[in-house]
Structure formats: structure tokens, C-alpha cells
């Protein structure tokens, strides 16, 4: 090797790593991997200028560098602080950091609706993971949370501002992937919101759909897939297609059930960041398996709810009743429909407007 670059020696939670000058503490920690990687809610390596805002990645610099060993006076955002040679950083080994992080999680959840049961992001939500790992079980906030009306910002994207944690990623995405940003951060303080101000549509460029992928929570969701299925019931498969857009990598994950494609997203790495951005045509319009070359199942981390029992090593349970009854099929002792007043297959519940009442069901087999 000709000119070998001098690498900086850094220690994170006492684990040594050598990185190139200019690397941030967070990225140095990612080189080590595992538990020492600080969580990041606003930083996104593919978006220039992102990071520094959510404060979840705060770490303690216990030694500045070999040249200046003084510790830094305050906790620093690891995503925006570059390493120095000889720097020593404490993340999970610092009670101060863990305490501060717990505080940040509480602040992030303060105005968050915690509507995970009805949120499409559930199961792949960074905030959910963060609060599970670093939060506490109860809130101390006793006031009304701020809420916003849901808004369709264009044909394909739903903005659910109430869930937003103001990471600014979608703003950077629109700035850097499209040349026509229509939405931004409006207002100030805890009244800030993502908005177009004039209820404009975002669908004016072919890359705006990426705001859905970069959103760490369920504030921006895919209208073509909303409420269609839970992510953990879907089978993610890697697929690609020849995309005509030169800026689109064409490599995606199809979220399928059977042959049906429910959703198309970019491929995300273990930090929840897309490997490469995809265009809106691939994302929103190619919902037929014939559009794609399927490569095979997407590897999903074992701890993820998405990998829970559905397509790897799933076996249909054996019917054992017949076996123990010498081959006789079990017999129903009572047909529920004959005794129940309301449980009648003849009545199509989906056709009843509003909740069903007893008088929606003809009594005693139509004797009414």
C-alpha cells in the first residue's frame, strides 16, 4: 500500500477500534456493533446534515484525545461529534448517559399518542424499539397531549403529525432527493409541525415516497398499504426490477402474503436505514409479482417481531384428536348457531351499518 492513512485509535465502552479521521463517534460504535451502538432517531447516514436533534445518541467523552485528555464538559451527540485520536467514550458503561437517555425517551414520548395498536409502523418502529429498550413503563405526564388532524399529503402519503418526533429526516430527504420540496417544519417549539402550510400535494417528484422509509415513527405512512396488514403477518422478500429511473436502484423488499404484494419498500439495514433509495413508481405502482424478479426471503433480525413464526421453519401442527380417537373424527356436541340468538351465519355483519344490535338478528330462526 502506498499512502496508508493514519487511523485514529478510539475506545468506546473500553472496546478499542481504529477508524478514519472524520468518523463520528456513532459510526465508530457501529463498526464495533452490538450493544455499544447508541440509538439514533434523527441521524441518517444517507442524509447530509441530519442528526444532533433527538439527543438519544448522547454519550460521554471521558477523554478528549491523546493530545488533550480533558473530558468534554457535557454529554455530546455521538452522531455529530467526530472522534479524535485516543478518544475514550462511555455509552452503556456510563450511568449518566443511561439516565439522560431515559430522560430523552420520556421527552420523545411526552406528546406521542402511543397508538401502536392502530399504527401501521408498529413492529418496525424505531420509537417503539427505543422506548422498549430505554424507556420506563409509565409516564409522569398528566396533561393533554398535542394532537393534529391527519392529512393526506398527496395521493400516496398520509401525514399523521400527532405521531411525529420532529427528526427532520423527511425534510432533508425532500431537499436532497427531490428538487421541489413542498413540505417543511412550520411553527416553533412544541407547536412545530411537518406541513405544507397550504395543503399541497407532495406527489410532484418521483422520489418523495422515500420520506415514508426514513420516518422513524408512523407519522408518514404509505396510503397504498395503510391498514392492509400487520408487518409481522407479511413475508418480506428481496426483489428487483429494471427501473427506468436512473436514480432508482430498483432493489426493494416486497412485503407479501401468498402472491399478493401489500407493500414495497427500500431495503433497510440493521440500523433501520435504507441501503439505497427507490423511486415512487417502484414503491407505489408495482404491486404485481410479475413486475419483479424475486431473489428470496429477506433476512430479518431474530429479535424482530417480523421474524416471529411465519415462514421459516413453520410447520402445520398435526391433528392429534383423530389419532387418539382411533381414527374417528371429533363430533360437535352442539351447533352454536342453533342455540345462539345472535350468532347466525346468515346475517352478514359487514353489511350492517354501525354496531350490530340484537334486533339485527331475527329471533329463533326467523320466527320474529
Amino acid at each position: 500500500m502506498a499512502e496508508e492513512k493514519k487511523l485514529f485509535k478510539v475506545k468506546i465502552d473500553n472496546i478499542p477500534v481504529e477508524v478514519e479521521p472524520g468518523t463520528t463517534i456513532l459510526n465508530a460504535a457501529r463498526l464495533i456493533g452490538g450493544d455499544v451502538v447508541p440509538p439514533a432517531m434523527c441521524y441518517y447516514s444517507k442524509l447530509q446534515g441530519s442528526g444532533g436533534k433527538c439527543r438519544t445518541c448522547l454519550v460521554k467523552v471521558s477523554k478528549g484525545s491523546d493530545a488533550d485528555p480533558r473530558p468534554m464538559p457535557k454529554l455530546v451527540a455521538s452522531c455529530r461529534t467526530t472522534v479524535m485520536d485516543g478518544m475514550e467514550v462511555a455509552n452503556i458503561t456510563s450511568p449518566e448517559v443511561l439516565e439522560a437517555r431515559k430522560g430523552v425517551v420520556e421527552f420523545l414520548l411526552l406528546n406521542h399518542p402511543l397508538d401502536c395498536p392502530v399504527c401501521d409502523q408498529a413492529g418496525e418502529c424505531d420509537l417503539q424499539d427505543l422506548s422498549y429498550e430505554h424507556g420506563v413503563s409509565a409516564t409522569r405526564y398528566e396533561f393533554k397531549r398535542r394532537t393534529f388532524e391527519k392529512e393526506d399529503i398527496g395521493e400516496h402519503i398520509k401525514l399523521h403529525m400527532t405521531r411525529c418526533i420532529l427528526c427532520y429526516r423527511c425534510v432533508f430527504t425532500a431537499d436532497q432527493l427531490t428538487n421541489n420540496r413542498q413540505h417543511g417544519i412550520l411553527g416553533r417549539g412544541d407547536h412545530s409541525e411537518i406541513s405544507t402550510y397550504i395543503k399541497a400535494s407532495l406527489d410532484q417528484t418521483n422520489f418523495i415516497g422515500n420520506v415514508i422509509d426514513v420516518c422513524p415513527v408512523g407519522a408518514l405512512t404509505d396510503r397504498t398499504a395503510r391498514f392492509k396488514n400487520r408487518v409481522w403477518f407479511l413475508k418480506p422478500v428481496d426483489a428487483h426490477r429494471e427501473c427506468h429511473d436512473p436514480n432508482c436502484c430498483g432493489k426493494t423488499v416486497l412485503w407479501m402474503r401468498g402472491d399478493e404484494i401489500f407493500r414495497v419498500t427500500a431495503r433497510k439495514d440493521k440500523y433501520g436505514e435504507v441501503e439505497a433509495f427507490i423511486c415512487d413508481t417502484c414503491r407505489f405502482e408495482k404491486k404485481d409479482v410479475k413486475d419483479w424478479v424475486v431473489e428470496g426471503p429477506r433476512k430479518v433480525a431474530r429479535y424482530s417481531v417480523i421474524s416471529q413464526g411465519h415462514y421459516v421453519g413453520v410447520h402445520k401442527p398435526h391433528e392429534t384428536v383423530a389419532k387418539v380417537m382411533d381414527g374417528r373424527q371429533p363430533k360437535l356436541l352442539m351447533d352454536i348457531h342453533s342455540v345462539s340468538e345472535v350468532n347466525q351465519p346468515a346475517v352478514d355483519l359487514s353489511k350492517i351499518e354501525g354496531p350490530a344490535h340484537s334486533n339485527d338478528f331475527p329471533k329463533n330462526n326467523g320466527a320474529q
Partner: protein, 453 residues
């Protein structure tokens, strides 16, 4: 009489205008600097003077100037921070309104020292009439050859522009100010890089407070060494104090930093005591962000020494029993004032002014305000006081810019020193909405604490 360096000529009729200002020794310092000194020599004098930033942080000005990166072919900027918005502070307004040429002259000398040819005065939007005064002064300085091309034949060029803000306390933070000057939202930048390396339009920039830049004029006039003889210790020179609240004579005073807090409040030369024979309850001596002190700790330190109006003496005891000089916004509360309500109003202020960029400040300031409002309205719980303490602790130090700290400190200090009053609000909810806790024991002399070894 205390000696004055900035307001010594403020009483002269017409000092606002160029001719009078010039006749009374104005622009002599500029002449001296531009014609007989090198930029480095000017910086050296400022360093020698020991001048500390008058905006609130108290960082040594000469040192700040020496950090300015000087790459070839890249313009450098000086920005004057006139976004005076810290509650209790109104001294820069006084300078700009009454002696605008002092600021222009200070800007000229400082720009010369820093090699800046384009300088901006960023003034808070609400001071809507002051840009006219400044622009008139700038025009007169132009006419008389103190601005523009080849100033006084020295080859130095300088233009000064006034930029109005539009209502945002956060723009007093230097990087938020720069963002605002670039026509953006006033979101503070994440540092590093610092403005000295990448500031306005990514060029090296120095941001200094109005009073700091004005103080450069007497420093050049009398020399840094002479200037440093004013005041005491590391608090050199004179400081403008804007006194307000329950005082007989609120207003802007120039003090040489060698008088006691008691003298400042009670002497006729300064604030003239508290009106209606009321007694002193508490004081926030450096603008709303600094810790509030009860009367007993304000006048004497925990060691029993007289507290002086200096950076060091006000800081004596750290956050446990001391406070800070800050921006010199001196807010006095008499025995009729409610500390809980006052703290709530400050929490409301910081909630209103939080830019919303980083989560602890965005969410925490509003939370503190709501909890304080409950306590103030007799709806608080004992646990709310501990909750407040915990919230402020989780904001402090964990935010992008110092606004988080500024929001946390007043709450922390109020609970630290006035916990009795908070508890009284909780235990006497009905009374608390009708009357105030009063002076209580907050002026009682404290037993002198033996030095901790």
C-alpha cells in the same frame, strides 16, 4: 461617583448625532486604531483589557477574536448581536438609541481588527424604531469618511448594515442569529464547526454583543492596560446593568465592577432602594436565565462576605449558593412578589421561545410550564416539586444550545432556595390563589457555613 467609560458622555445634548459625538472625542479611537495600529495590535489591546463578552456568557473577547480562522480569499464577517431579548435586559437598546455612534465606532475598530469588510448589526425585530437611528448614524459616518471605501485614506473598506429580526429570543444565540441572518428559521446550529471557522454563509465569523463592541472604543482610547485597572480581578472595565422590577429608580446604569450588590440596590447613585418601604425578597442579577437568589444570599455570600457586582463574586458559591453576572439584567422582587408565579412566567417565556429543534427543550419547557401553572393555581401536588426538579435536570446540559440550560436554571434555583414557598402553595391551595407567601425568612441572616475541606 463610579467611573464611567461608555455612558460618560450620555448626558451631553445631541450626543446621538455625529457632530456632537465627534466634537466630544468621538472617532478618536477609530482614528488611532486605523492610522497607528495594526489589526493584531488592536486585538492585543483587547486581550490586555481583559474584556469579557457582555452578552451573558462572559467569554474573553480578545480570545474569541484570536480564534477567527483567516483562510486566504475567504471573506470574514463581524456580526453585532443586538437581539437583546433576555428578560430583564435592556442596556443595548439604551446604547443604540442614545449613543449610536459609539457602537458604529466600536464596530469600525473591531472590523478592522478582524479584517471584516462587511458587518451586520442584527437587532431584535421589536426594536422597530432603532434601525432608523442606526441607519442615520451609519449614513453620517459614511458622509464623514468613517465607512465605505478607503476609510480616512487607510485603504480599509467597511460597510455596516442593519438587519431586523422578527421576534425570536433564540436568535440571541450566535448560531441561531447567523441562521436568521441567512433568512432561515432561528434554529441553533450543531457545533462544531464554530462560527469562527464556519459562520455566516460558511465564512469565518465573529458575533459580539453591542456592549462588548462599544467597550472596544474606550479600550483603544485609554489602552488595554488602563482599561483593566477598572473593576476588580477578572471583572475588568465597566458593565452596563439594566435594573428593573421593584426598584425606586429602574434603568440602565454603568458600574465599574467594584461596588457591592447592596450599594447598587440601595444607594441613591444607583437604584435608590425599593419603593413603598418594602423589603427585598429575591433578585435575579443577570437576566432571567441565571439563578434567582433570596435576599440573604444575594447581599452576602454563604461565607459571609459582602457580595460584589463582579463576575466572580456573583458566581461565588456556584449554583448552590451563588448566581451569575449574565447579561446584567438585574430583576428585583420585593416582599409582595410570588416566586412561584414569577418562575412560572419565566418557564412560560422559555416554552414560548424554544425553537423546537431538540427534544429535551421542545418537550421539557412546556411540561415545566404546565406543572408550575398547576402549583401556582393551587392544583399542585408535593410530588410535582420533585418532578420539576427532575425535568429541569434532564433538560440541562442535554440540548443543542444553551436555551435548555437557561430554561432549567431558573426553575432549579427557585426550588433550591424557595422550596418552602412551593410547598406552601401545595399545602394551602385556597390561600395560594388569594395571597402571597410574603417575605418569610428569605431575608434572615444565614449562619455562616464553615469552609468545606
Amino acid at each position: 461617583m463610579g467611573r464611567k467609560l461608555l455612558l460618560d458622555k450620555a448626558h451631553i445634548e445631541g450626543i446621538r448625532y455625529y457632530d456632537v459625538y465627534r466634537k466630544n472625542g468621538g472617532y478618536a479611537a477609530a482614528e488611532k486604531a486605523l492610522k497607528s495600529m495594526s489589526p493584531d495590535q488592536v486585538t492585543e489591546e483587547v486581550k490586555k483589557s481583559g474584556l469579557r463578552g457582555r452578552g451573558g456568557a462572559g467569554f474573553p473577547t480578545g480570545l474569541k477574536w484570536s480564534f477567527l480562522a483567516k483562510p486566504e480569499g475567504v471573506p470574514r464577517y463581524l456580526v453585532c448581536n443586538a437581539d437583546e431579548s433576555e428578560p430583564g435586559t435592556f442596556k443595548d437598546r439604551y446604547l443604540m438609541e442614545f449613543i449610536p455612534h459609539l457602537l458604529i465606532e466600536g464596530l469600525l475598530i473591531s472590523s478592522f481588527a478582524l479584517g471584516a469588510n462587511r458587518t451586520y448589526i442584527y437587532i431584535r425585530g421589536e426594536y422597530a424604531w432603532i434601525p432608523d437611528i442606526l441607519e442615520e448614524a451609519i449614513a453620517d459616518a459614511h458622509k464623514n469618511g468613517w465607512l465605505g471605501k478607503n476609510i480616512q485614506g487607510t485603504g480599509f473598506d467597511l460597510d455596516i448594515y442593519v438587519q431586523r429580526g422578527a421576534g425570536a429570543y433564540i436568535c440571541g444565540e450566535e448560531t441561531a442569529l447567523i441562521e436568521s441572518l441567512e433568512g432561515k428559521r432561528g434554529n441553533p446550529r450543531i457545533k462544531p464547526p464554530f462560527p469562527a471557522v464556519k459562520g455566516l454563509w460558511q465564512s469565518p465569523t465573529v458575533v459580539n454583543n453591542v456592549e462588548t463592541l462599544a467597550a472596544v472604543v474606550p479600550i483603544i482610547n485609554i489602552g488595554g492596560d488602563e482599561y483593566s485597572k477598572f473593576g476588580t480581578g477578572k471583572s475588568t472595565g465597566t458593565k452596563l446593568i439594566s435594573a428593573c422590577g421593584n426598584l425606586n429608580k429602574p434603568g440602565v446604569y454603568e458600574i465599574d465592577m467594584s461596588i457591592s450588590v447592596e450599594e447598587f440596590i440601595y444607594s441613591d447613585e444607583y437604584c435608590g432602594g425599593i419603593p413603598n418601604g418594602k423589603r427585598l425578597k429575591a433578585c435575579i442579577p443577570g437576566g432571567s436565565s441565571v439563578p434567582i437568589l433570596p435576599a440573604n444570599l444575594l447581599l452576602k455570600t454563604a461565607k459571609g462576605e459582602t457580595r460584589m457586582m463582579t463576575y466572580e463574586s456573583l458566581n461565588d458559591g456556584g449554583f448552590a449558593t451563588g448566581t451569575m453576572m449574565g447579561s446584567g439584567g438585574f430583576i428585583v422582587l420585593d416582599e409582595d412578589q410570588c416566586v412561584v408565579r414569577h418562575t412560572m412566567s419565566l418557564a412560560r417565556f422559555y416554552h414560548h421561545e424554544s425553537c423546537g429543534q431538540c427534544s429535551p427543550c421542545r418537550e421539557g419547557t412546556g411540561w415545566m410550564k404546565k406543572v408550575l401553572l398547576n402549583i401556582e393555581n393551587g392544583k399542585g401536588k408535593m410530588s410535582d416539586i420533585d418532578l420539576l426538579w427532575d425535568i429541569q435536570r434532564k433538560i440541562e446540559g442535554n440540548t443543542i444550545c444553551p436555551l435548555g440550560d437557561a430554561a432549567a436554571w431558573p426553575v432549579a434555583a427557585a426550588i433550591r432556595h424557595f422550596r418552602d414557598e412551593f410547598e406552601w402553595h401545595v399545602t394551602n391551595p385556597e390561600e395560594a390563589v388569594k395571597r402571597n407567601f410574603g417575605l418569610a425568612h428569605y431575608a434572615d441572616p444565614l449562619p455562616v457555613v464553615a469552609a468545606v475541606v
